[in-house]
Amino acid sequence: MHTHTVSELAAALAAGEFSSVELTQHYLDRIASLDGEINSYITVTPEAALAQAKQADERRAQGEVTPLTGIPLAYKDIFCTDGVKTSCASRMLDNFTAPYNATVVQRLADAGAVMLGKTNMDEYAMGSSNENSYYGCVHNPWDKERVPGGSSGGSAAAVAARLCAAALGTDTGGSIRQPAAFTGITGIKPTYGRVSRYGMIAFASSLDQGGPMAASAEDAAMLLNTMAGFDERDSTSANEAVPDYTADLNNSLQGLRIGLPKEYFDEGLDVDVRASVEQAINVYRALGAEIKEVSLPNTNLAVATYYVVANAECSSNLSRYDGVRFGHRCDDPANLEDLYERSRSEGFGNEVKRRIMVGTYVLSAGYYDAYYLKAQKLRHLISDDFSKVFEEVDVIMGPTTPTTAFKIGEKVDDPVAMYLSDVYTVACNMAGLPGMSIPAAPVNGLPVGLQMIGNYFDEARLLNVAHQFQQQTDWHRQMPAGV
């Protein structure tokens, strides 16, 4: 059952081949037997999952069906889930049970989807390797010595190891696409504002965006259909009509204009990864697409700019974790100052502290203009680069990451090297554009991600372009050994 895609599962459930309860139990059994080595889940909710599955079967019997009815999903532990621990992989929220559902969680529940549990992640979504988790690192199912990427590493690993039918991730600087690339799955970060952020614990508010992580573009389209749309609780969500993302999947790519930014194929790119990406581009060439080189000249500024903007916002967003109302509180505080200092020192991990300090610094009196304001200006330049390129192409393509998944522990002592693994993904967030990663030919048995970036609200096209590739290749069908 678990080797099915969501669309195949939906068909099988509709045909009565098995029930949602059976399917859910199957995934729960797989999690119980396989996740010990992968550590992709922080919390598994078997009773609630089976109850939801039972309800889904009942709704189906009454003819109340959506394409997601009875489909077992996993949610990154950054999405608030009513009555279920929502930790953000932080000691700070280890004791936190969310009192409400995030909008996307609620929409998926309304559509009849089943929640298996909450997936592991980098603490507060800060990281590119899933090593920054209070609950321990996640192991890449393709090679358990390697990282699954981050920050949505748990969701990526769970999908890759087929420990759920599909999962939710969030992407602030590449946190859906980079782990999707490292684990050989399909992930899409929608246009900023396409998916409500309400109930998605904030890292960097102007960059965060939730999205689906799945085995195929078609599956991602099915999830996005339910997730996307205006939410009156999120002022930054877009009041734009949501198309049926599955409707255009089979459109022809004849005449599609694809731009390859030369800056994404520079000397930092691993030669084997480059070869894999070029091979994938050839598939598009064969499908009738026009390929041209383009330039995003400010790419080299994107990482630095990103770490100013994202950290500034995070330093403020994480102020609410003060030990006063919820979350971790130190023992026996001597006074208010002590309560703040020790609760936050004990509650946050090193990477989170590093980013809060950097963010506080760049917003401080005397430094604001030099860092925060300058970064905002650069952000405009980076957006302008994309706008110019989209005047001549429909989709931008390139590698999602410079290398395949690296070894656990390899970069933990070198934050800058770690940050540079986001070099191809952060600019997309800076501009608020939709971005996607799909599996290309693996290198030495490790998955490679082909990244595609679309124009604003052009998710339907990205999904179409990805789906057509997946009709020609079966990289997305490949699974790690033992699955």
Partner: protein
């Protein structure tokens, strides 16, 4: 040395929206702690603010009332600092682009001259919660009902030169926001709070002295008091060779002193930056027009109209327009009646009883319509002014309308000349000696002696005889 005082006020007016500025939680005052604290008020992980545009509408009204430059595009910014009753660790406020720009108000100085005080800006922000230090056994309780109530922070130019002017300015702003209906103005409940920036400088010096910011002032009386003692403190300090330091000082009304709360060095670096959770507030022409259309006649204009059209004195018009409720009450009561008599009743009898009972005019048991009904009966001679006082008291005690009371108590004035003649004749017949004395008296003393007969007639008629008719008839009979 001669010293000049320089004062600027920061006034926080709670806006009278039904729900909070960034959530749907109620703003009602006085509920059980934390019963009006929704997920957004609590700063729960994952929640987001959604701007309540009613607050923008109120700010537009204020902007128009003080002739300010409206910020058609204003931006919310985060003011970052840690405090237990600040749930998110930052306050959503406005910094670089406020909703209300430069404006001005006029105040009347003690000598009667009009002075213009500049309003630098007014911006929207959310209120914090309250820390409760009593009854928690050495711990601190947090009540977040107030967290997220909309505030309009109104910042004046340093144009104010005395504590009395500061009070006049604060009262003016208070009057305006109350007229606009955008703030209930209740200082005890904290709906209207004043912070004063106070400094002194040698008379004639241009450079401003170092200022202290006075906080915790919850009445106009305390505002005047706090400024005066702070000015004295600063002058004493400088004259004895000391130096004023920039700091925040708390006014203690019990000890009648100001004391240091935190110095500039201890002040927070608020690290303002635009709030990425909120879009800029854009105000289009229709929105502005709708808000402006709802602005009632403002106190200055109303006062002028009372003088020009109703013939009231400037002083009476000023008293009657001091609050919108009082002016509304007066105008309603005066419809179809003599404005001066109506004014005298509102400022006299009505105000006196209200003061005595400690009631606001809005809570007056005698409605403006009821008072107007009574004034009509004075106007058409149904009752005399004297009887009217009894009628008013009866109305206050809930005995019904003026007409009902007049009817029930038989207070209708006797104007039938035959009936009055009969009473007059009866009184004269019963007081033959006094009639004789009167007729023999010196003409100069007669008017005074006439009072005796008037009194007897009024007494016999139980006060109901028309006094003018009684007078005329008595003079005729005794003459």
């Amino acid at each position: 040395m001669q010293w000049e005082t320089v004062i600027g006020l920061e006034i926080h007016a709670q806006l009278a929206t039904k729900t909070k500025i960034f959530s749907g939680a109620s703003t009602a005052f006085g509920s059980e702690p934390n019963t009006q604290a929704c997920l957004v008020s609590l700063g729960m992980p994952g929640v987001l603010p959604v701007f309540n545009r009613e607050a923008a509408k109120m700010a537009v009204k204020f902007s128009s009332a003080i002739g300010a430059e409206l910020g058609r595009r204003s931006v919310f910014a985060r003011k970052n600092y840690f405090y237990p009753d600040l749930p998110k660790g930052y306050q959503i406020s406005q910094f670089e682009l406020p909703i209300v720009g430069m404006g001005k108000v006029e105040i009347v100085q003690e000598n009667g001259d009009v002075k213009v005080v500049g309003v630098t800006r007014a911006h929207l922000e959310e209120d914090a919660g309250k820390s409760l230090h009593e009854n928690f056994h050495g711990m601190t309780g947090i009540d977040l009902n107030r967290a997220g109530i909309p505030l309009l922070e109104i910042v004046s130019e340093p144009d104010i030169r005395s504590a009395k002017e500061a009070v006049a300015y604060a009262r003016k702003i208070h009057q305006i926001v109350r007229y606009l209906g955008i703030c209930d103005g209740n200082m005890q409940e904290g709906s209207f709070r004043c912070d004063a920036n106070v400094s002194v400088r040698p008379m004639g010096q241009e450079k401003l002295g170092t200022r202290a910011e006075l906080k915790n002032i919850n009445s106009f009386r305390f505002l005047e008091r706090a400024i005066n003692i702070e000015v004295d403190r600063q002058i004493d300090l400088i004259e004895s060779g000391g130096e004023v330091v920039q700091e925040t000082r708390l006014y203690d009304s019990v000890k009648d002193e100001t004391r240091s709360m935190r110095s500039k060095e201890e002040a927070n670096d608020y690290r303002y930056f635009p709030d990425p959770d909120l879009l800029p507030v854009e105000l289009d022409d229709d929105f502005i027009a709708d808000a402006v259309a709802e602005i009632p006649e403002l106190p200055d204009a109303r006062c002028k109209r009372f003088v020009d059209e109703l013939g009231l004195s400037l002083q009476d018009a000023g008293v009657l327009t001091s609050s919108r409720e009082m002016a509304d009450y007066f105008e309603t009561a005066s419809v179809g009646n003599d404005a001066k008599i109506a004014a005298n009743w509102v400022m006299g009898e009505v105000s006196a009883v209200l003061n005595k009972q400690g009631l606001d005019i809005a809570d007056c048991p005698v409605s403006a319509e009821m008072l107007g009904g009574m004034l009509k009966r004075i106007g058409d001679n149904t009752i005399s002014g004297k009887i009217a006082k009894d009628v008013f008291e009866a109305m206050w005690n809930g005995e019904g309308s003026a007409d009902e009371i007049i009817e029930a108590r038989g207070l209708k004035q006797i104007t039938d000349s035959g009936a009055i003649e009969a009473i007059v004749d009866e009184v004269l017949a019963a007081n033959g000696k006094q009639v004789e004395n009167y007729r023999n008296a010196d003409p100069d003393k007669q008017p005074k002696m006439l009072g005796f007969f008037v009194g007897q007639v009024m007494k016999a008629s139980q006060g109901k005889a028309n006094p003018q008719q009684v007078n005329a008839l008595l003079k005729e009979r005794l003459g």
